[in-house]
């Protein structure tokens, strides 16, 4: 936290060195595998960075379109799941009974391998768009609900008493106090859920869909070594989608809840 002001110099430069270094090592190992070690399927195992980059560029249209299909469905499911999660959290914070009913299941759902449901949901629905939306929504639902609830609960007792002393109506307590106070919690839930939602959507596609980044990933994998650059491109696009979803949420957090301690520049008193 203390080197926040020197952030650019101290953090961003090493990061670029890291990324650049990794790419160089990747390229070198790829060359070594192919020409020195003469490993079978060397390019499939670790292709040349420049070849993958060229493929990414060449097929950027297709990749963008298919990636967009995945991202769009994941996004719709994510939003629905997040909304449902927020509603459940509010209900749990309002009613002890609902909390007792739902909280153990929410906790339990955090402990079990939810993504395992993907094939089952696809089996039930048999529609790729709908099942992508369902699985993304479902994955988003519980982390958001739990973190939102924690946020709603994080409100300082004195702050509540203050509202009480103003004779504030219950809706005003929620609107003016509990919701803003819960935003950091909500966003930590959203940041956990966003990459998972993308993963879930891709997973559904691998079960046998027609469109989406997962579909061309699988297709190019089956085509074999001749399509390895395209395969690696799809993997990179999938990874980028996951990261993009996370960064989108971080960006939204900065816009919506900019007052949090970690966003403060150095020099703020106390």
């Amino acid at each position: 936290m203390k080197q926040n002001s020197a952030f650019m110099r101290e953090r961003v430069l090493p990061l670029f060195v890291w990324i650049f270094g990794l790419l160089v090592v990747w390229e070198a190992v790829s060359w070594w595998l192919l020409n020195v070690a003469k490993t079978p399927l060397a390019q499939s195992k670790l292709p040349y960075v420049h070849e993958v980059a060229a493929t990414l560029w060449k097929y950027s249209g297709t990749l963008l379109k298919e990636g967009g299909a995945t991202f769009g469905n994941a996004g719709v499911g994510f939003l629905i799941g997040a909304l449902a999660g927020v509603i459940l959290a509010v209900l749990m914070s309002l009613s002890k009974t609902i909390e007792q009913l739902a909280f153990p299941y929410a906790i339990a759902s955090q402990m079990i391998p939810i993504l395992g449901l993907a094939p089952i949901i696809y089996g039930i629905v048999r529609d790729e768009q709908v099942s992508r939306i369902i699985i993304s929504g479902y994955i988003t639902f519980f982390p958001v609900a739990l973190n939102m609830l924690r946020g709603l609960r994080s409100v300082d007792l004195s702050a509540l008493e203050l509202m009480h002393s103003y004779a504030a109506k219950p809706w005003a307590v929620y609107w003016k106090l509990r919701f803003p106070a819960a935003l950091p919690g909500l966003f930590s839930g959203l940041k956990i859920a966003a990459p998972l939602a993308v993963t879930g959507a891709i997973l559904v596609e691998l079960m046998g869909a027609q469109h989406g980044i997962g579909v061309i990933m699988l297709r190019n994998l089956y085509y074999g070594p001749s399509h390895t650059y395209m395969f690696w491109s799809t993997v990179l696009v999938g990874a980028l989608l996951g990261m993009a979803s996370y960064w989108l949420m971080s960006l939204a957090e900065r816009l919506v809840a900019p007052w949090q301690p970690e966003f403060r520049p150095k020099g703020g008193n106390r």
Binding site: E10, W18, T97, Y105, I112, G242
Partner: protein, 299 residues
């Protein structure tokens, strides 16, 4: 009917978790007695009643409705799409030894990968704390790795490590590294500055500061990460098995769906859930043993 499907409850209850197969679509719900334990350790029995009975009741009602095909009617589903709890229980009974051995296989992958991944994550955190300027970059890199969908990792790990246990362990390693690195780093960085000054006054070197202060301080955070990773590792292992495996719960699950053996697929989920919950509870238990001194563990 319901008795059929909830037959395994007593066993799990005794293990400290209550599980009724399939209440929410997640099919299985392990409930630790956590709410009761945490809020009021002195009177567990009093707290137990509404906090345990209510969700238990809801779970049973859910199962009964499911068994009597109420959901099938509402959502217009056929029995082959959504099998009945009794059919799932039957499939579990018929394939018990197979399921058990596959659960063991998957759990091995998960535990192995989780241990390697957590160890790597911890080392990264050590490096990032010891050399903030250059180590910090590695932290960002793992955080980015964390956002990479598991499914994108699976084929690559398969190419690198073959289709055996190693490839799934590698997937799990990749997915568990980040949580550990980030949390452990937080723990090592969040040392009381006065405690650092104290070490300084003892003329303690960097290794001693790590040994006596930073690593101790990071333990609660490490266990937080381990708990996250317990769940993540099961997911990683199962999803990894979806594609290139010939054994394990994930393999059986995706295979059963493909050949329309829905009850068997569901029973995989049930077992995966039970294994996940047990894994989690074991880690939680270890946490209690290892960091007794931490405020969160005090009554």
């Amino acid at each position: 009917m319901a008795s059929n499907s909830v037959g395994d409850i007593p066993f799990i209850t005794s293990a400290g978790a209550e599980a009724g197969p399939a209440s929410i679509p997640a099919s299985n719900n392990g409930i630790s007695s956590e709410p009761g334990k945490q809020k009021n350790p002195r009177r567990p029995l009093r707290r137990l009643n509404p906090g345990i009975i209510l969700p238990l009741l809801a779970g049973v009602i859910f199962l009964v409705l499911w068994e009597y095909q109420v959901f099938h009617r509402i959502f217009d589903l056929k029995k082959y799409q959504l099998p009945l709890p009794s059919a799932i229980a039957e499939a579990m009974r018929d394939n018990f030894s197979l399921l058990l051995s596959y659960t063991g296989y998957t759990l091995t992958e998960a535990v192995l990968g989780m241990l390697i991944g957590s160890a790597c994550g911890f080392l990264i955190a050590l490096a990032a704390t010891a050399w903030p300027r250059w180590g910090g970059g590695s932290l960002t890199m793992v955080a980015a790795l964390n956002a990479v969908p598991i499914v994108a990792l699976a084929p690559i790990m398969n190419l690198w490590f073959g289709d055996g246990i190693g490839s799934r362990a590698a997937i799990v390693t990749a997915t568990t590294m980040a949580a550990m690195a980030i949390n452990a780093y937080k723990g090592m960085a969040a040392v009381d500055p006065l405690a650092l000054d104290l070490m300084h006054s003892y003329a303690a070197g960097k290794p001693a500061v790590f040994r006596y202060l930073r690593i101790q301080n990071s333990l609660p955070y490490v266990f937080t990460a381990l708990k996250i990773n317990a769940t993540a590792s099961m997911i990683g292992a199962i999803v990894g098995e979806f594609f290139f495996s010939s054994r394990g719960l994930g393999y059986l699950l995706s295979n059963s769906i493909k050949v329309a053996k829905m009850p068997l697929g569901w029973s995989c989920i049930v077992l995966a859930a039970i294994a996940g919950v047990i894994f989690y509870l074991v880690v939680e238990r270890l946490e209690k043993v290892f960091i007794k001194w931490h405020p969160s563990q005090r009554a």
